[in-house]
Symmetry: C2
Subunit: 253 residues, 2 copies
């Protein structure tokens, strides 16, 4: 199957000759990082609708344009590249559009931060909703594991002398992949599921402020407005979002 | 806490002036990929013992040499870099020691393959043993999800004209990060947990042969011999390994 050739385009983001196509579900979760990096890079993209994403996901690997398990999948039309896996997509885009740090060491620390973000998304959703939250697991998560993740990000900012007010990660004066990743992870999570916001303020106050500062950058604030209008309060979607909201409502943090 | 300064070195791999220190549990699981890449790159490293790994993992993030959640953690002494997250470590080492492909596109596909491997390890162990296998989950995994992962890797080889007998991924004549990743993932898994071997042969026969060919490369075969002698049949360790072995013994595949 060819992606993006004369297919129906459901709730696509834009029409016409664009450089990229992003296959992802209509929720502001893993795909949101890709949209934000594309926005910071000033790149247009289109987004096929749910049915097209679902159809290509369900194909046998040897019938897919490139074999993959799950969205997000990015097509770079000029490069003739179809790429799955959020961290691989982010790294590719960041390298191509000058959003990576200069040194190998800082690039590695950026990769590590993206992996951390990917892990947080997994843990928050019990690995894509493979099971639903129970009170015991919830308490252990919001009392131990999630605060530790928050502290890891807080300490990462501190190690780079980045605060809520000043600086960017690994590139000092210029926002890049690491900054977008932090901002989307914690900023979108705490705006869609605001029960998490006090926890972030307690364990990672600099991260909380930094995320808002980065999200206020013009290209990101524009894309957030569009997507907030499109998705409303939805976050990771499905039963697992309902399970998180249920825990937040009944047990809090 | 400084890593590796005059600490006790339990079952360390070697003593003296080495370029790297690898913190990981004494099992041939995620850390095994790092060891194999270091071996292919001809780099010496030492490995602190269980107690040291455990001690540094349990520190508060702001007391760790670099904030992290879990091993593997690699220290590059010359670069003064402490780096967690297996895919970030592999990418850093591969870039430094000329194990990445030449083009941005092939580098991205290598990153994607490493992420796939990381996901397979997660799914195989129910995300680090967060729960134990039940018959229902086991059947769905070995009948659907795991065969699909195998088919994804098989198709990745096919797309590069790589077979059990000839070629390497994204670099044609020279083994690199992608090859090592495939070989360790499927080769070590099916040798330690040989109940999986027939499934791999059925769904990814080229991958099965390719993994053996890569593991037979001199630097890798040397390191595998050492580590097989050290770890025996152990794989991911702990209760989750017992749970996998129980499922393989009672229900098979």
């Amino acid at each position: 199957m060819e992606l993006c050739s004369d297919q129906k385009r459901g709730d696509q983001h834009s029409v016409g000759q664009v450089g990229y196509t992003l296959y992802y579900w209509p929720i502001p979760f893993r795909g949101e990082f890709v949209c934000a990096v594309l926005a910071l890079a000033g790149q247009d993209y289109d987004e096929p609708g749910f049915d097209d994403v679902s159809a290509v996901k369900l194909l046998e690997p040897d019938a897919q344009p490139a074999p993959f398990m799950a969205p997000p999948v990015l097509v770079d039309h000029d490069a003739d590249l179809t790429l799955a896996q959020m961290p691989a997509i982010l790294r590719y885009l960041a390298a191509k559009h000058d959003l990576m740090p200069e040194t190998a060491k800082d690039a590695a620390l950026t990769d590590k931060l993206v992996q951390d973000a990917n892990d947080v998304l997994d843990e928050l959703t019990l690995f894509g909703g493979r099971s639903m939250w129970t009170l015991g697991e919830w308490e252990s998560f919001v009392e131990e594991r999630l605060p530790r993740w928050m502290a890891i990000f807080e300490q990462t900012l501190a190690s780079q002398n980045v605060t809520a007010e000043t600086g960017y990660l690994f590139r000092r004066d210029t926002p890049g992949l690491a900054d977008v990743t932090v901002a989307i992870l914690w900023g979108v999570m705490t705006s869609k599921l605001d029960g998490y916001a006090p926890l972030l303020l307690r364990h990672a106050p600099q991260v909380a402020g930094f995320a808002q500062r980065v999200l206020a950058l013009k290209p990101l604030s524009r894309v957030r407005k569009e997507r907030d209008a499109r998705f409303g309060d939805q976050y990771c979607g499905g039963q697992i979002e309902a399970s998180i909201r249920d825990m937040l409502a009944r047990h809090g943090i």
